[in-house]
Symmetry: C3
Subunit: 669 residues, 3 copies
Amino acid sequence: MPDHLLYGVAYYYEYLPYDRMEQDFQMMEKAGINTIRIAESTWSTWEPKDGVFDFTYLHRVLEAAARHHLSVIIGTPTYAIPSWLAKKCPDILVETHRGPSRYGARQIFDITHPGFLYHCERIIRRLLEEVRDYDCVIGFQIDNETKHYDTCSPRAQALFREWLKERFPTPQELNQEMGFAYWSNSIADYDDLPDVRGTINASFAGEYSAFQRHLVTEYLLWQRKLVDEYRRPDQFVTHNFDFEWRLYSFGFQPDVDQYEAAEAVTIAGCDIYHKSESHLTGAEIAFGGSITRNLKNDNYLVLETEAQGNFGWLPYPGQLRLQAFAHLASGADGVSYWHWHSIHNSAESYWKGLLSHDFSEGAVYQEACVIGNEMKRLSPKLLHLKKENKVAILAGNRSQTAFKWFPTSQMGERPELDYSDYLRWVCDACYELNLEYDILNDTARDFGRYDVLILPVLYAADESLIQAIDSYVKKGGHVIATFRSCFADSYLKIYPDAQPHGLTACFGVTYDRFTKPENVSLASDTVALPEHTNVSQWMELLSPMGAETLCTYDHPEWGGIPAVTRNHYGEGEAVYLGCYFDKEGLKALFRTLFPDFGLTVPSLSFPVILRTGTNQEGHKIRYYLNFSGTEQTVPVETSGGTELFSETPVAEGQTLTLPAWGVNIIEEQ
Amino acid sequence: MPDHLLYGVAYYYEYLPYDRMEQDFQMMEKAGINTIRIAESTWSTWEPKDGVFDFTYLHRVLEAAARHHLSVIIGTPTYAIPSWLAKKCPDILVETHRGPSRYGARQIFDITHPGFLYHCERIIRRLLEEVRDYDCVIGFQIDNETKHYDTCSPRAQALFREWLKERFPTPQELNQEMGFAYWSNSIADYDDLPDVRGTINASFAGEYSAFQRHLVTEYLLWQRKLVDEYRRPDQFVTHNFDFEWRLYSFGFQPDVDQYEAAEAVTIAGCDIYHKSESHLTGAEIAFGGSITRNLKNDNYLVLETEAQGNFGWLPYPGQLRLQAFAHLASGADGVSYWHWHSIHNSAESYWKGLLSHDFSEGAVYQEACVIGNEMKRLSPKLLHLKKENKVAILAGNRSQTAFKWFPTSQMGERPELDYSDYLRWVCDACYELNLEYDILNDTARDFGRYDVLILPVLYAADESLIQAIDSYVKKGGHVIATFRSCFADSYLKIYPDAQPHGLTACFGVTYDRFTKPENVSLASDTVALPEHTNVSQWMELLSPMGAETLCTYDHPEWGGIPAVTRNHYGEGEAVYLGCYFDKEGLKALFRTLFPDFGLTVPSLSFPVILRTGTNQEGHKIRYYLNFSGTEQTVPVETSGGTELFSETPVAEGQTLTLPAWGVNIIEEQ
Amino acid sequence: MPDHLLYGVAYYYEYLPYDRMEQDFQMMEKAGINTIRIAESTWSTWEPKDGVFDFTYLHRVLEAAARHHLSVIIGTPTYAIPSWLAKKCPDILVETHRGPSRYGARQIFDITHPGFLYHCERIIRRLLEEVRDYDCVIGFQIDNETKHYDTCSPRAQALFREWLKERFPTPQELNQEMGFAYWSNSIADYDDLPDVRGTINASFAGEYSAFQRHLVTEYLLWQRKLVDEYRRPDQFVTHNFDFEWRLYSFGFQPDVDQYEAAEAVTIAGCDIYHKSESHLTGAEIAFGGSITRNLKNDNYLVLETEAQGNFGWLPYPGQLRLQAFAHLASGADGVSYWHWHSIHNSAESYWKGLLSHDFSEGAVYQEACVIGNEMKRLSPKLLHLKKENKVAILAGNRSQTAFKWFPTSQMGERPELDYSDYLRWVCDACYELNLEYDILNDTARDFGRYDVLILPVLYAADESLIQAIDSYVKKGGHVIATFRSCFADSYLKIYPDAQPHGLTACFGVTYDRFTKPENVSLASDTVALPEHTNVSQWMELLSPMGAETLCTYDHPEWGGIPAVTRNHYGEGEAVYLGCYFDKEGLKALFRTLFPDFGLTVPSLSFPVILRTGTNQEGHKIRYYLNFSGTEQTVPVETSGGTELFSETPVAEGQTLTLPAWGVNIIEEQ
């Protein structure tokens, strides 16, 4: 854990068109930048030929960093292999569902390949030996946005067979759980298991996805073990976990079980990229932050986020600063840009850094100077912000995989929305209402510390999770589940009894019919829904078994059928949403429900975002973030404190004026 | 031929998550279900290892079926191969235009592979031996929705070379008919014939498609011969022919010459799936039924149709019943659902059966109970309905293939509409006007029994067909041809003389220019067209040579040029449509023409569908089907009879009230 | 150089469904057609088996042509190989980025393959020997629309390695210029150079594209050398260069360096296809003509253009004639249709010729008769039209390649507009304003004879070009550069200093930020912009360093920032456009600027197109072309002359009446 806020950049000395490191580091110091991350792309630089090493550049950077008071995070350089390695072991290049790969891009190798692992270990050990004597090295990033790269090599598939045998000792057990009789896929001998790439069996394919995710965990743990042999006790180990990519960090990461893989790090890290300019909302900062914070239930590092970012994300004046403090408000202990200078060749030249290609002290750099110096000054107040959210949202990779095979669309049609859209639907409704949330993994079982537990499209839920939910409600918890929750077991085998499986008593409702809504809207006597709340994507025809109907469908044929229900169960309550509908409708529903569940919905809402936590001194910190281009005047919700930027006292009943894209921070007395 | 209406389901004992067959069969009996189809997906169940057989499940099902008075149709289990077979003969997996295949899906093998045929024959013979002693087995389905799976194996291509040599003994003849000189493709030796997959020659590729279709016929005939060695005289042989798939059964099947392949069955069968809920029109039931009825010119079986079907097809109350009787009204002797229970794993879990995943007696099952018991009661009245339609529509696989290569779009652009769209345009106009039609193959030559013969985009027509058309009109027939008809010979070689080839006298018209209409509409003095009848996709600039102009184009440059013409020829008349236009315009044209052609256009039209035929007692049966969510009051067009559901008499001048999605059946005295 | 206007067709005797050559040639004579192009698709006809030759058809055609006074252009038959050659040397079939190819289409071989070249040479020599004694043969077309077919064979890649070594003797130099350190791509040994197909490095990939283009030049020069061994001094050598294809001849050809490859011909040729009917504008005729004219700075041949063309291009009455004279007005010495008769088989049956499939004397043929006879009569007046345009537009293949890798869109998103769109934006604005332009290659350095030099998105510019631009302006030239100009060197390495590189003094402006405009429009006090001039695709935030601001952005955040600037520099002026905006806005800007730059903007504008030049007699020729379906009355801008079609005198102050799609030509006294 760092003892001050890290403000950093990724620095690529080896990418420079000419040597200007001294000038770069001077500019960093001026900007208040205190950390650089280096080395993660440099294998071909450190080891230009097989077994020939050259760390000249490394030492030059480390020595200069030390001189310029820059801390250094060392990335192990293994996410991009040198060309000579691909020539030496051609089958290192990953064989995927789409066939073999060609050398060129990063992340195109088979992480189970022994030759890869051999060379990987050698370069990591050599690098760690080189850096061990530098005090400026504060930690290590193992690999970079690691995935399994869809490895389907014979080697990986042989490992998968062993994985299956552990879980299903006989082919007959496998046949039964996977439903292999379908289309004559059943096997009498494990040797008959076919190449997984041809399968049409969602259970089988889904299990392979789970196996592939586990390969990532194993690989990261293996690198961690290597690093542990060299690192000092004060040095941390992190990894930059990232998110489902939709040209920005949109959703839950499908290819890594991050909650499991986080075992490999001492401090969680992440990469968050998001739209900017008029599209900046802060929602991804909150979403990605919630996941990363919950990986270790602690503060985390934003190891990469955009400076000028992708083409079309040129920050408006104020936005870079707003973003930086929004990360801290979510519990980050540091923010690091990708990257320092814009690149002059290759692929990502238009993913621009703090500096443009001309290295001038441009507008974005100038705003970074403001931020860096504010962060330096406020570090003691803002570091290690502790958050105690009362809303938990459950997410799971297996449910996500299920949506790949069984989307909310007709077979053969491309779904409009996917798993992460539904997850974000719930998260963003909370975000916009300033209901701060945690995102827990579906392996969590103890929800006792939360007032509300939300299950968005939690398709795959095993019996122990179902019992945990039931038990949580019985003991006074409040659960809100959406359509398609608890529908199948972990192997995506649909439960053959009343839905939602094992929870019909808890929710007081069941259903056996669902369809695609067309021209359907939501009606309610009890919820103050917006004028027209459109139902789309999915609707279940609910049959209450004791639950109260909160909303019904409005439609010529399905009209009057319950759509949302609420049930008292044990000491708690359980709400079931049988359909997807407009986010404004969901917010209306939350506004109705949450006060009954013991949670105050703040009067402030998006675009003014309110984030809170407790600092190291035990004081409550309130961030007021204005995600709009319009000045906002907001009431201060505290009995008194100090606005930290201006160092001015703030009293109850007072109002704050937030400029466009502005931020205020109040520390309570 | 069954002696009662079959009401059935596909039943997959081997797919069940737990054994509940007794309960299932009891529920079937209660519902009036009298038939199950089994076994077509079961190869890996019956033969779990190469040469090791286990028919325990089969006997268990057959014994229970007999106990529960269920007839059984046995499917030969050959459309999905076991994994061990693919491991044993890897080149069984089909090599297609897209390259080699992987194991997993059904229908991914090369039907010309001797190893496949060897194992196929062995499992079929073993199965037939097992079932021969069961009285409850009423018939066999050979294979399942068989296609050629685009086999392009060296084996298949060698057979194709022989196919060509039979038709073109010398390469020079082949060069000339195919136009191989184009782009230097001509060959001097059959050994130089290239892999068909690279060709840009539509004639060559089109002939390969015809060859592939013929492989299907040969394969089905081969299975039929095997079945004939075992079956009893009272047992039928059928096959579930299906249709061009556009996420539902939309059009003419491009990959099978069904009229030829039907030789392999004693009773035609088909699979019809269609949109539901507010999109249910019944048009596919009529369309698919017309084709299947004309395969053997007799009654047929609907071997598969949807219960709850694809996601988004949850039937409204009444729709399942309406659909079932609509099939019977088209000449079906039975209706069977795919399938009994919804599947808990694999790929088609959201293609739901009569029962949902929870096996409960849900709403859809309950409606099936009504239908089953009505069908049981009315079977003597409704079985073997004989239809004598007066409109014939000609369709052909070669014309269809032509549209793949020469669509109604610019080269390189994706066409908006394809062959089947134009076919359906004509069929659906007839359907909506309650003009019942037959769909004949382009091999038909005797049209004498029809009042009207329609040729929608009959691109490829050989000389004998052209003569048959000419002769039909001369003798008093009425033909309506659209644009792009009789343009090329069977090898898709465009006729090098005046268009439509060989029929300029018959139609009294010719043309040598055509283009894509933009901002063109249809004008007419003689046809009561809707206000604006848009012309799109294709327009020919017609030059009448004696024909009367019915419609002209409305356009700044092409305005006034004839678009639709009508010609007296011999004793008959010939109408030519030079362009595609709105369906409402086509219906207006039909309303003008048909009375002159001796056919009354009923006053009732869609959404009220009227279907007629003669039952076994020689009585006329009139179905009134309401394909709308609104109650309809309609006049009864008969001098008197009995409404069969209510068993109430109906008199002339009386009206019927059809509820939303309702059906009435009148048997005339 | 021909001594009369060529009016021709491509003639395929070998494609005829029956022998009708005599009739065809009689029809040609009647139409005034004086030239046929033959033989370019005939390899399999002349050499049906390896080493077996048969030129019967060739002699038949040449003898008949001579009898019918038809000149003949002989195409070398090498763009489509016979099947036996692909069987003999399977690796002749080109290996591309998408993998190996299959036989069938044209242009699917590796032009570096020695076996290909061997057989190529043999057939060319044999053909040239056969035709050498025919007087009617006036010239040769070497190959046909030659490209590199994306050859990525090991052979081609080995040649590429040598190409790189010449430019970068050491791997370290290559690493540095390419930026290979990025993603660990650097190499220590040339043997480690990976397969170019996997690369993510735009500099490396871009250089491979340049190498591939050079292969085309080498190949054409090689064929030229062969032809030179046989041809008579009076026989020309040409090639039909073509354009970036977007279902018509849209843009700059990305796969050939035409300015370099033109060394292989004695007279430039081109193929121009364009939309027709209501979409006919003539813009492609001017655009393609400008490029082709500038290849040799001389007159050129239109070797292929459409008769009836693609489906949907059926010419309106008058359009075929308008098109023919528009080509002459751009400096063509001949116009030849692809092709004489429509083809009855294979792939291009719907790319129709002068004759439809029925060979009748249809409307299009009849219009050709008018044109042919007019061209015969006016040939002395219209041949060898010399053009002296004052506007030069610079285009370059490397800049074009850059847009493939760095488009004006986010990474991962499909750009709306590409390089050629921006080039056409400038060209079409000039065209519509009747400002005739030349298109020069980016290797041009002497711009002295032009009043205005325009640089549309000239992304890649080496130092010598930058100096030439600077020097041109200093000496009194006027340059207009758009956004993204002079941003990178020839290797697509972005210049690491102030943008536009090396020209900040010249333009008096710089910038380091750019973004995607959303809801941005252009504002100006000095330019009479249309009401709302939308800015889209790309915007740079300009910082004037002495330049005057002509336009600013209108936007809540970027409002007021300069968008277009103008700078006096030396004796000249330099205008910089920081963004893309509506073409009408660009025309308004040109109307403001051009008079100041010494160029009169004609009062006539599109759809009336005015083209001028000087004929052999030294008289000024003025074409008035009406690209609309509406009659146009236009003032005559001359002190007097003769309208050539009508042979009537025209005086100053008089007006001309141009019928719809009509053309007038005035020869000044």
